[in-house]
């Protein structure tokens, strides 16, 4: 019973938003070329689904964020380890990474387009750039937060350098790595949509920007709803459970 109530509470703001939207549309008689009502969005959703358009564009975006996450993880985590285990490197790189975070992925778009053209490569580069910084940063912070005694004790148990990485650094930093990946995927998703709008090679950003050219407000709004929904679905069903598992299991939060 209480569980159901809590689920409903999560949906309440959405219901309020839809009510306001619908009320404004009907109450002020706003023209269809500026705003459409929820049922119109719903029917546009149906059209996009039955023609397979939505699936195609969403699949492009999802595979792009998937590939970008994978590449960023594979490159970012070892880089974070390398920097985190070296005190001098960590100190000198910290400021640099913070600086890079100030230059958003979107700000790299003009250069990336000049270098790689209007291609998926451009979008991938932008998304990886956005995603990888939080992964490197959090891996580094996670490694540096590991008590020195863990490392020393393992050395006295005869562990090799590699063994210390697999048995101490990796599990010790894993909760941070997961947090960094989760953050990065959030930032990356936004950068992805923005890049798709300019690059125009498919994806949900392309879908909504293309719809604008034909004043298809219903399609724009469907696209926006899908962008938000997919983000929540991926975050809540995939990334957050991974985070909760690592944090709760190892009692890092309760240390």
């Amino acid at each position: 019973m209480t569980r159901h109530l809590r689920d409903l509470r999560v949906l309440l703001p959405f219901a309020v938003l839809i009510a306001i939207w619908w009320g404004l549309k009907d109450g002020f008689g706003i023209a269809d070329k500026l705003l459409v009502a929820p049922p119109q969005v719903w029917s546009a959703f149906g059209t996009l689904i039955t023609h397979g358009i939505l699936a195609e564009y969403a699949a492009t975006s999802l595979s792009m964020i998937g590939i970008a996450t994978l590449i960023s993880f594979v490159i970012g985590v070892p880089l974070g380890f390398a920097v985190g285990t070296n005190r001098y490197a960590a100190r000198s790189l910290e400021g640099f990474l913070r600086y890079l975070q100030g230059i958003s992925g979107i700000a790299w778009l003009p250069l990336a387009i000049l270098w790689f053209g209007f291609t998926h490569t451009t979008t991938l580069v932008i998304v990886i750039y956005t995603l990888i910084v939080p992964i490197i940063f959090n891996t580094m912070t996670g490694v540096r937060a590991i008590p020195e005694n863990y490392v020393l004790a393992l050395g006295s148990l005869g562990a090799s350098r590699l063994r210390i990485v697999t048995d101490v650094y990796f599990p010790g930093a894993l909760p941070s790595i997961v947090v960094g990946t989760r953050l990065g995927m959030g930032y990356g998703w936004r950068a992805l949509i923005a890049s798709e709008m300019l690059v125009r090679q498919g994806g949900l950003g392309d879908l909504i920007f293309g719809a604008r050219t034909f004043n298809q407000i219903d399609r724009i709004m469907v696209g926006m709803v899908v962008i938000g929904t997919l983000y929540i679905v991926v975050d809540r069903l995939l990334v957050q459970p991974a985070e909760t598992m690592t944090l709760a299991r190892w009692g890092v939060l309760r240390k």
Binding site: N149, G155, L157, A159, K255
Partner: protein, 258 residues
């Protein structure tokens, strides 16, 4: 007479700090013989942890040398196990997996590993906690795991840096008795650092007293060996000889108050 296990000669150590070179210890010569428990008591900051870290191989001495079985110490190694004051067992491993860690690293077969772990779980009264994670244990329990992990790896020498300092007083008495029993049954060479005079006398076959910083070894006292099962606090406090030694050490330490 047993062979010399650890020989520290002409050891001196300096740290580099922002305000220049800081002397951490005076000149130290110590010999630890095979199978004996040597305790070292000294005021805070005297450099006793520095000495232990150098024997463990965590730091390179500024001067002098350290031999283990006649060979110079270069970095940490599995023949020299270390028990830290706190925060050294891994929070993402269960009690069993923590204790077995050294054996895993040494590629000891699973069956033998399990036997050793079982034996230490029994010796350290950890029965029933095998599959718990460290955050589910009290501070005293965690130190038992740390001690068991070091013993399980079967090093020649065990270095202990105030292992019970962060544990409550009641638990500490139990842990000291358990450690005494463990030392008496396994005949390990142990070097134990503490700032508690009673602890030093209770556990040691030999007690070393250090001066204040930069510390040197000021005195060395032999303590008669306890019976087979190690000591217990009841008989220790009732023993006039032990009380006399404790008083003597207390006087030596008091003179070094900072």
């Amino acid at each position: 007479m047993s062979a010399d296990k650890i020989v520290v000669s002409g050891f001196r150590h300096f740290f580099q700090s922002d305000s220049g070179r800081v002397q951490a210890t005076g000149e130290i010569d110590v010999t630890i013989r095979e199978g004996e428990v040597v305790t070292l008591v000294g005021p805070s900051g005297c450099g006793k942890t520095t000495l232990l870290k150098a024997i463990a191989g965590f730091i390179t001495p500024s001067e002098g040398q350290i031999l283990c079985d006649g060979k110079p110490v270069r970095g940490p190694g599995r023949e020299r196990g270390v028990v830290f004051q706190e925060l050294a067992i891994l929070p993402w491993r269960t009690v069993r997996k923590n204790i077995a860690h050294g054996l895993e690293i040494a590629h000891v077969p699973k069956a033998e590993r399990d036997r050793t772990v079982e034996r230490l779980i029994g010796l350290m009264s950890l029965n029933g906690f095998e599959d718990r994670y460290p955050h589910e244990l009290s501070g005293g329990m965690r130190q038992r795991v740390a001690v068991a992990r070091t013993w399980a790896a079967d090093p020649d020498v065990i270095l202990m840096d105030e292992p019970f300092a962060a544990v409550d007083a009641m638990t500490r008495l139990t842990l000291q008795e358990e450690l005494g029993r463990l030392c008496a049954t396994t005949h390990k060479t142990v070097f134990f650092i503490t700032h508690s005079v009673e602890e030093a006398v209770f556990l040691g076959d030999r007690v070393l007293v250090m001066t204040k910083r930069p510390g040197t070894i000021k005195a060395m006292l032999d303590v008669p060996r306890p019976g087979k099962g190690g000591r217990d606090w009841d008989s220790f406090t009732g023993d006039p000889e032990m009380r006399a030694i404790s008083e003597q050490v207390m006087h030596l330490v008091h003179a070094e108050r900072v």
